[in-house]
């Protein structure tokens, strides 16, 4: 089946941006969701679609350092932007401190919220090395989890702070 979003498909645009430290040119319709473009074009499938309407945070990515729901971002909006996805959190075999803490302290159960949760946590810790529990709660308010009741996630993040001063 021919790809409707090949570079010369009518109506598509070329959007240049950096994704996880690499220069990329995304060819897609201007109003395509960043979520779909990143998953289908760059195969960054760590980004999950939960609700598709900006409620759940499973599709969280960072754009220029800000955590956003990629299901609500049209691809035309990311020209020149610096994007980081969960795939950009640990670029070697070594997990980031936050990822390891989620594994060690039960912060992940079914896993659908986990990429967004980890990214939200990393985003928080890069701005605030030693957040209090209320600060963690506020930072994760846009990421819903139905399994854990959040307590194990808070604990994982607090433990990750104990372990390091330099965040992933």
């Amino acid at each position: 089946m021919p790809d409707a979003r090949s570079p010369d498909a009518p109506g598509t645009i070329a959007v240049r941006c950096r994704v996880n430290g690499r220069d990329e040119t995304l060819h897609d319709y201007p109003m395509a969701r960043l979520l779909d473009t990143l998953r289908e074009k760059l195969h960054l499938t760590g980004i999950k679609e939960g609700c598709g309407e900006g409620e759940c945070g499973a599709c969280s990515v960072e754009i220029d350092g800000k955590l956003v729901n990629s299901c609500l971002i049209p691809v035309a909006q990311v020209e020149g932007a610096e994007i980081r996805t969960i795939e950009g959190v640990a670029t070697t075999e070594q997990l980031s401190v936050v990822q390891q803490a989620f594994i060690s302290y039960g912060g992940a159960q079914c896993g659908i919220c986990t990429p967004g949760m980890v990214l939200a946590a990393v985003n928080l810790l890069e701005q605030n090395n030693h957040p209090t529990e209320p600060e963690i709660r506020a930072a994760l308010a846009g990421n819903l989890c139905r399994c854990t009741g959040y307590m194990k996630i808070f604990e994982s993040i607090l433990r990750a702070c104990d372990r390091t001063e330099v965040q992933s």
Binding site: E53, I136, L140, N143
Partner: protein, 86 residues
Amino acid sequence: MINNQMTNYIMPTSMDLPPIRVYFEELPYARGPAGAKGIGELPLDGTAAAIMNAIENATGICIRRIPMTPEDLTAAFEATRENAIA
């Protein structure tokens, strides 16, 4: 379905939840091996019965076995109709 989208399906966020502490009360169950009793399956037990009761309440047709497939329902409806005609 009342809550067919996340916008009005209100679920607790990290801002809403009180601290949760889990305690296990050790009460040996006389009929289980080594006093054990399963806890994982309890939420499943009532579901099928509740759906069957709902179907009986809505249609008057009572089905008493699972799985309850659309074919089972159709057969039950047709049997009821034939009885009504006969």
